[in-house]
Structure formats: C-alpha cells, structure tokens
C-alpha cells in the first residue's frame, strides 16, 4: 500500500480540538441536567402529615406559638387578641424538628412541665438545660457513639478551653434539628457540607460569634487565602480534618486545636497516609466496600479524590527515568568526546 499523508499536523490537532470541545460541551450539559433532576426529587418535608409523628399532638401545643415567627394570645384584661413576634432563637422549625434525631420526644421531656402554662413563669429562665451526656452518657445503647470520649476531647479543645461555660454542645449541635449524618448519608458531599455549616454557623456569623467572645471575628476567606482552589477545598473537605485532632475514628473529632496546630501541608492530605483517611473517608470507603464489593468500593468511590499519586510511586518512577535519561546522555557525550580525539 502506497500513500502519502501530507496533512499538516496542525490541521489534525484543530479537528481533534473541535471534537473535544463538542464532547466537553455535551458532557457539561448532561452533567448539569442530571444534578438538576436530583434537586427536584429531593424530599422536602414541609407538607408532611404531622399526625404520624409520635407526641406530635402534645408538641403542637408548644409549636402553635414556637413553630412560627409570630404568636397570638388573648389579653385577659382587655379581652383583645394580641399578636407578638417570636424571638428567632425561640422558633423551632417543624420541618427540621420532625426529621431530626430527637423528633420522637415531647418538648417537656427536656423542658419543665411548667411551660405548659401561659404566660410562662419568669423563673423558668433559670431552668438548667440538659446537655448530651445527661441523656447519652453511660448508656450501653449509645456506647458506639462514644459520647464520653467526645466529651473529654471537647474539654481539651479550644472551644472549651478558651471560652466560658456557655460553650455547650448546643453551640454546634442544635438538639431540635440535629440529625445524624455521616453514618446514614451515602452522599459524602452532603455530609461534608452539613458538617461545615455547623462551623460556619458561628465562624461566619458575627452575631452568634460575639455571644462567646469579645475578639474580632477573623474573616475565613482571608485567613485561608494561602489555600489553592479555596472553593474546592471548602466544599470537599471538612473543616475538622485540618482543625481538629483526628484519632482514627469516625465521630470523635471534637478536639479543635489552636490555629498554630492546624494542618497546613499539602502532603498531609495529598499523599500516602493522608489524614483524610483517618476518619470520614475511611468510614465511607469501608461502607462502600461492604456494599459494593472490594474493587468498586475502593477505587470507584467518591472518596478517591485527594490526588492521583497516593504513595509517591509516580514521583519515584519519574525521578528514576529522569536520572536514566541524563545518564545515557552523559555516557553518549563522553564516548563522543573520546572518539573525536
């Protein structure tokens, strides 16, 4: 077969580029349409039937007022109905409460029975509130969540050490909305965002931040300016991966460390022994392996996103190849010089 290929390679590249651009555009459009569909099908528990929730009848007596932004009562003297605004901190959002972990409880399981009368007595302000350990401590049923360990880690964290007694579990975990996430949600991204929003609820909200400290709130975006691709990091990594001491378990990352101890090296994550594999990612990989088998779970899960060269082999191979090239060139040069003399 005799033929001449006399096409300039630049034309070939041009055609290939065009194909690539078309394929890219197609991939992008299918990417965005599929994520659009997902948002639609997500269940939104706004119009759920309240009757199906345990104790909802009793709780509605409270939520009648505390479930919305205003409440109404009859003034006993003037016999007029008065409308008042509910303080935003006192509003319990039904749609969040009824999907939360504590949805089965009566309000008065944790709050005083005296609240059932209105107007509430002023003394009730002095009511001491339960925290996590008051119910979950020392209970075998909750042993796997290791509440005691969480507590001791929290006590050692900057949140506990640097702030007053006011810094309680509730600062981060609202008992009315808290929903266990990492263990039940297969969507890693959602877990990451859920967790990060907990941190941001103070660290990006000056009014809540000021409740606990007189320090000026640092601007997170400026503080993290050194981090390349900030947006990607913020949506793909939990704050606590770098800011808490990770002790190789899923849940116990409550020991938030001072900023001088925060992780700052790229290779802490983008390398062998990535710290990311100490907790959430490890858990997800284990779960994926259980559900999808070894190969798919390990290699095809979303968790495989922290750098292609996990164990430095590529670096080593490339250095060896480079050294080899230089060596051959040197040998060739030496022989050439010798022969020319």
């Amino acid at each position: 077969m005799i033929y001449r290929a006399n096409v300039r390679p630049a034309w070939v590249v041009l055609v290939l580029l065009l194909c690539f651009a078309i394929a890219f555009a197609l991939a992008k459009s299918s990417d965005s349409s599929s994520s659009g569909k997902k948002a639609e099908t997500q269940e939104y528990p706004e119009k759920v039937n309240l009757a199906k929730f345990k104790n909802s009848e009793t709780n509605e007596l409270c939520l009648k007022c505390h479930g919305q932004s205003k409440y109404a009562y009859e003034n006993a003297e003037t016999k007029k109905v008065v409308h008042k605004r509910m303080y935003s901190e006192l509003i319990i959002k039904r749609d969040e409460f009824y999907v939360s972990n504590h949805k089965g409880f009566k309000c008065t399981d944790c709050h005083s029975e005296d609240y059932t009368t209105f107007p509430h007595s002023g003394n009730l302000r002095m009511e001491s509130k339960a925290n996590c350990l008051d119910c979950h401590g020392g209970d075998d049923k909750y042993a796997k969540f290791q509440f005691e360990k969480i507590d001791s880690n929290f006590m050692a964290s900057v949140h506990s050490q640097k702030h007053s007694q006011d810094f309680t579990c509730w600062m981060c975990h609202n008992p009315h909305t808290y929903k266990i996430n990492a263990r039940t949600n297969e969507n890693l991204k959602e877990t990451i965002i859920y967790d990060n929003l907990i941190c941001l609820s103070c660290h990006s909200d000056i009014t809540k931040y000021e409740l606990l400290t007189n320090k000026q709130k640092p601007n997170i975006l400026v503080k993290h300016e050194w981090l390349p691709n900030q947006a990607s990091h913020f949506t793909n990594v939990r704050c606590i991966e770098c800011h808490a001491q990770n002790k190789d378990t899923l849940i116990v990352a409550h020991q938030i460390v001072p900023k001088s101890l925060a992780v700052k090296k790229c290779e802490s994550c983008h390398a062998k022994n990535s710290i990311l594999y100490a907790s959430l990612f490890k858990y997800q990989v284990q779960e994926n392996i259980k559900k999808q088998g070894w190969f798919k779970g390990l290699f095809l899960s979303e968790t495989a996103t922290i750098g292609p060269d996990q164990n430095n082999t590529l670096n080593i191979i490339s250095l060896v190849l480079f050294g080899f090239t230089i060596l051959i060139i040197l040998i060739h040069a030496v022989i050439r010089i010798q022969k020319s003399h």
Binding site: I2, Y3, R4, A5, N6, V7, R8, P9, A10, W11, V12, V13, L14, L17, F20, F24, A27, K28, D31, W226, P228, N229, A231, S232, K264, K265, C266, K296, F299, L300, S301, E302, A304, T305, G307, P308, D309, L314, N315, S318, L321, F322, T325, I326, I329, H332, A333, I335, R336, K339, S340
Partner: protein, 204 residues
C-alpha cells in the same frame, strides 16, 4: 558533518521569536512546577509565589503556542512537520543507528539538512509529538486545573481533577525529558554550538 556550503536561511524570525520565548517559559514552568510538586507549604510565601508564577507563565506559553500553531498552519515552515508515512520507520531506524553507532565512527549524517527538509526523521517525529500532542495536552489540562469548576466532576466515580492532574504531570514530565534530549541533540551540528547559533540568527 553536513556538506552544503552557503548558509541556508532555515529559521524565520517568527519561529526564532517563538522558540526563545517557548524555551524561557518552559524552563520557568519546569522549575516552578517542580517546586509546587515537591512543595513544603510551611514556607507559604514561596509556595504562593511559585503557583502565581507557574500560572502566569502557563498562560503566556499558551498564547505563545498560538504563534507556533498558526505559523505552521499557514506558512511554508509547516511543511517541515508533515511526516511522510511511507518508509518513515525505516528512516527512523537509520537515524537511530546513526546516533547510536554512526557518530562514533565519524560517519556522515544520513539525512543532511537541506532547504527541503531541515529535520532528520527523529527530530521530525519528536517535534511533531511534542508540539502537536504533548503541548496541547499540557495546555488543556492546565486550563482544567486553573478552573477546577469547569473540569468534569467525575468519571466512573473518580474526580475529573485526578485525571487532569495526572495528565498534566505526565505531559510536564515528558516535556522536561524532551528538553534534555533536545538540547543534547542540538550539539550535533557542524560544531557543538553551531545549531544554537542557527536558532538565534536564523542561518544554518
């Protein structure tokens, strides 16, 4: 080694301009690229500087690449990059033979430089591969890393950024190796330095 007498004008101004800029940008990119890859971001200022310089040099290299691309699309210099498929492998072999054995016996180069063909088969092959496969891929993957949000999010479950990153590293590595070999082979002129003079003053 070559047997022509009057100098050939082989490298027009635009190719010389492109080439010197390209060499400078490549060197910058290799140095900053290595310092990013083997970074220790505790010295954050240096790391950030390396990233910034790498990004700027990458954009400049891409713009500069357009000179090469358009020039070789439309001027007669592009003809030197057309590979004649028939017998190409045989010609590659004889050039390879020359480099591994012939030069040591002071044999003449099998494909002397002429106005019709300024590259020997190995040069032609490596230049086409570098300029039309590796550099476009480095540029494309570089764009993908510069704007991670446009990169395809996941392909069979692995982040698109992983493939892009891998491709970028691989191509960067190939360019580095190419450069070492390229510079060494440029010493095979009439004298060791004559080819380097050519790519600066245009005459071979």
């Amino acid at each position: 080694m070559e047997n022509h007498n009057e100098p050939l004008y082989l490298y027009p101004v635009w190719i010389r301009l492109w080439h010197i800029l390209n060499a400078l940008f490549c060197l910058t990119l290799i140095i900053t690229g290595l310092s990013i890859q083997f970074s220790n971001p505790t010295i954050i200022v240096k790391f950030r500087a390396a990233v910034a310089v790498h990004n700027v040099a990458g954009v400049l290299l891409s713009i500069n690449y357009l000179i090469f691309f358009l020039g070789n699309l439309f001027t007669k210099n592009g003809a030197y990059y057309v590979i004649e498929v028939r017998g190409f492998f045989t010609r590659l072999k004889s050039q390879f033979h020359h480099y591994t054995i012939g030069v040591f016996k002071n044999e003449n180069a099998p494909f002397p430089v002429t106005m019709e063909s300024k590259f020997n088969p190995l040069q032609q092959f490596s230049y086409v591969a570098i300029m039309y496969a590796v550099l476009p891929l480095v540029i494309l993957s570089g764009i993908g890393l510069l704007y991670p949000e446009i990169t395809v999010h996941s392909l069979i479950g692995i982040s698109g950024l992983d493939y892009t990153d891998l491709l970028h590293l691989l191509c960067g590595f190939i360019v580095t190796i190419f450069m070492c070999i390229h510079i060494y082979f440029c010493t095979f002129g009439k004298t060791t330095l004559s080819n380097f003079k050519s790519i600066i003053n245009g005459y071979h």
